[in-house]
């Protein structure tokens, strides 16, 4: 028995490793076909980043992490919140307006803006939740539509709210007063840049996520609904309520995604505010298997690949987009690897059951082993 369990643990750890190796192999294949220097590319990507690079990786990972947790909340109950992208952009915009107006002094202002972001994110996701429970509209489609609508709404409101910066055609909201910025910290005295202070918020969010999902009645209901809706209904769970609440929670966390950038770097919301973080979040949530620690590792990996690929264009004349292929392939190979391992695990169990039964009753042996 313990031997089999050991085997299974080894397989569970081996699956992501295998996925990584396959993804690297496929990327290398693409590089070879393209006639680029495979060794050179990997030498750059797998080199040890300097302090500046490490800071950048941590910062990017913070943002990815929040995005992935938002997606993962939905995933835990089989809801696909593809709309994190729209949710965080509209939430960041509102937070930038609130913080820029500075109705409250200092950090109270920051707090107000964060609350506003969370509320707006939740509301935007809530539309999809409401459509799902009242009208039966698939959240996959509605959140995709809401992403596009968010783009249009933000573009419209930004034009209305924008302040003109002299000599620049970038439209952006009013700058947040310096007293409301969230200070970062530097890694060592010679670091040229700061790690976002919001990284603390991300860690807290990750911990609360773990706590709620694994240690509360609500979390149990959520996971139960995700595992089997009919069983959940039978045990008295109000599935519609669960769908709506988890969509709101997912949106609330999504509202935080833009905060590290807003309060630690950009200090306003402009037309150049980073977009597309929601889709990266989906990939990272899948990679981390919706587990708070797994997601953290996934976020770091994605941020690492992004940061390390940046100089490729200058150094080797290779497009940094090559890591996007790697990232996409990793998502697929990780899922496939886990599926293969799961099937193997099931077979292992069946074999064990079969041999246990065979000890009792030697008659039917072969029938149970077959899958």
């Amino acid at each position: 028995m313990s031997d089999a369990r050991l085997k299974r643990v080894a397989l569970a750890i081996g699956a992501p490793a295998l996925a990584l190796i396959i993804a690297f192999a496929i990327t290398s294949l693409v590089l070879i076909l393209a006639g680029d220097s495979v060794i050179g590319v990997w030498q750059q990507i797998l080199s040890v980043p300097d302090v500046r690079g490490v800071t950048n990786i941590l910062n990017a990972a913070t943002v990815y992490y929040l995005s992935a947790v938002a997606v993962a909340i939905g995933f835990r109950m089989s809801l696909f919140n593809i709309g994190v992208d729209g949710q965080y952009r509209i939430a960041s915009f509102v937070a930038a307006i609130v913080a820029g107006e500075a109705w409250l002094p200092g950090y109270l202002n920051t707090l107000l803006a964060l609350v506003a972001a969370v509320l707006v994110g939740a509301l935007w996701a809530g539309i999809a939740g409401l459509l799902r429970v009242t009208r039966g509209v698939s959240e996959v489609i509605s959140t995709i539509m809401l992403n596009a609508i968010a783009t249009a709404v933000v573009a419209y409101l930004l034009r209305k709210a924008a302040v003109d910066a002299e000599g620049s055609n970038i439209t952006a909201t009013k700058d947040i007063p310096e007293g409301s910025w969230i200070p970062g910290f530097s890694l060592g005295s010679d670091a040229p840049n700061d790690v976002y202070g919001v990284i603390v918020v991300a860690v807290v969010v990750g911990f609360v996520y773990w706590l709620v999902i694994n240690r509360t009645r609500f979390g149990f209901d959520l996971r139960a609904t995700g595992a089997s809706e009919s069983a959940a209904i039978a045990s008295g769970i109000d599935v519609k309520r669960m769908v709506l609440v988890s969509m709101l929670l997912s949106g609330a966390v999504a509202g935080l995604v833009g905060m590290p950038i807003l309060f630690g770097d950009a200090h306003n919301y402009g037309s150049t505010f980073q977009s597309g973080l929601g889709f990266a979040g989906i990939a990272i949530a899948l990679l981390g298997r919706n587990h708070p620690v797994g997601i953290a590792l996934g976020a770091l990996l994605f941020a690492f690949l992004d940061e390390q690929a940046n100089p490729l264009q200058i150094l080797l004349d290779v497009s940094p987009d090559i890591v996007k292929i790697t990232q996409g392939v990793i998502v697929l190979t990780v899922v496939i690897a886990y599926e293969v391992v799961r099937r193997y695990g099931v077979r292992l169990e069946q074999r064990l059951v079969a041999s246990a039964l065979a000890d009792d009753d030697t008659d039917d042996k072969g029938a149970e082993v077959k899958v």
Binding site: A283, G328, V335
Partner: protein, 420 residues
């Protein structure tokens, strides 16, 4: 509950009782839409609502959405949800750009189909052979498709005259058909601005003026799909895989093979949709050319209740709203507000008659609000016109989704031997 009382809504309101969708009903619905549009054009005075230019542009905008939707149809009818259409479409745009520029326009079409099919193959292997969750695999295909195309485009088009890291040089046009003998008199008729007559003339004129061969091929693919999926034993078997794979397998159908074929075909359709964007809707490959049309195609397919005819109507609707946005901008979309308001109020009345108070209130309030917006404003702000197709999708799905029925086993991973 009689059918007669709510005839005021033209062909747009479905009666509560079951009614088979027959050819006369379809023609009546199309006629109803035309009367509505024509009335709207005359009431609001916005001629762009049904000019032949608008309708021709609608066709060009609708074809890629419809082709992507056909891709979705093939795959979902075999039980595989395909959210990776967007990624396959992106692959198709590059295929058209690469083969179209280096080899010629027809090779470009084939290249688009080929690259799309490769995307489909990826999705097929992951979902059908490895049982990966369909949405997960689709998301991965989208990421890979985008990444691969950006990488390949930078590799192939950098330094090529007229091209760059994010776009290909111009591709030669495919042949287009214009029947001048019919086109010109129709143009005169259209100019008269007669109720309904001019609108029909505009539609016919749009169909005989500068019509790309690829548009014709795309339209014939709808007929082809209907014929294959609903009129051949191959299609029956394919659809049975999407309804009940276990039952299909117990009848000796190779479910895995049918699903593989369906998903690869799905990719080919999506690739062609991308190719259309690069070669007919514009004349070169550009990064970000698809602009989420793969998702819209999926929505159009759901709107069309997983049927080719409905899909065509959905694609037409999305193409139309998208075109209005581009051509008339805010003013044309403003004219459309009135139509939406009237339709919503009609839906509210209908819901009220059926006893659905809440649904009726929601549609009624929305309808009145949009009506007020119409009368209080002159034009819809430019930034907001961009969201028209998406709001339309949401509205339509919210109003109609409960009447839709997807294939019974859609999205469920299937393993060989599950039939036991």
């Amino acid at each position: 509950m009689s059918v007669v009382t709510n005839s005021a809504g033209g062909g747009t309101e479905a009666p509560a009782k079951k009614r088979r969708i027959t050819l006369p009903v379809v023609l009546l619905a199309i006629a109803g839409v035309f009367v509505l549009l024509s009335a709207l054009r005359i009431i609001t005075g916005v001629d762009e609502l049904s000019s032949s230019g608008t309708l021709r542009a609608t066709l060009v905008a609708a074809v890629p959405i419809g082709l992507a939707g056909l891709g979705g149809l093939w795959s979902e009818r075999a039980g595989v949800v395909n959210i990776g259409l967007e990624g396959m479409m992106i692959l198709g745009t590059f295929g058209a750009g690469y083969f179209g520029y280096f080899y010629g326009p027809w090779q470009g079409v084939l290249g688009a189909i080929l690259l799309g099919a490769i995307g489909g193959l990826l999705h097929a292997v992951a979902t059908v052979l490895f049982g990966v969750d369909h949405i997960v695999s689709g998301v991965a295909v989208n990421i890979i498709g985008l990444g691969a195309v950006q990488f390949l485009a930078a590799l192939t088009f950098s330094g090529v005259p007229g091209g760059g890291a994010t776009q290909s040089p111009g591709i030669d046009d495919l042949p287009a058909i214009t029947i001048a003998a019919i086109s010109d008199p129709l143009g005169d008729l259209e100019g008269k601005n007669w109720f309904v007559v001019s609108d029909v003339a505009a539609l016919l004129r749009a169909l005989v003026t500068d019509l790309s061969v690829l548009t014709l091929i795309a339209l014939s693919l709808f007929v082809f799909t209907y014929w294959v999926l609903w009129r051949t034993s191959f299609g029956l078997r394919l659809r049975s895989c999407g309804e009940s794979p276990a039952a299909a397998e117990s009848l000796g159908i190779n479910v895995i093979r049918y699903k593989l074929i369906a998903v690869i075909a799905s990719g080919a359709f999506a690739g062609l949709a991308g190719g259309f964007l690069a070669m007919v809707a514009s004349s070169s490959f550009r990064d970000g050319q698809t602009g989420g049309r793969g998702y819209i195609g999926l929505a159009a397919m759901i709107f069309g209740n997983w049927r080719p005819g409905g899909l065509l109507a959905g694609a037409g609707l999305f193409g139309y709203t998208d075109t209005l946005r581009l051509r008339g901008g805010g003013e044309t979309i403003h004219g459309l507000l009135l139509l939406v308001a009237v339709l919503l109020v009609l839906v509210a009345i209908w819901q009220l008659r059926r006893g659905h108070r809440i649904a009726a209130t929601v549609s009624g309030v929305l309808g009145v609000l949009i009506g007020v917006w119409f009368f209080l404003s002159e034009s819809v702000p430019d930034d907001l016109t961009g969201m028209t197709p998406y709001v339309t999708t949401l509205l339509v799905l919210a109003l109609a989704s409960q009447r839709l029925r997807m294939p019974a086993a859609d999205g469920k991973p299937y393993r060989k031997g599950s039939a036991g």
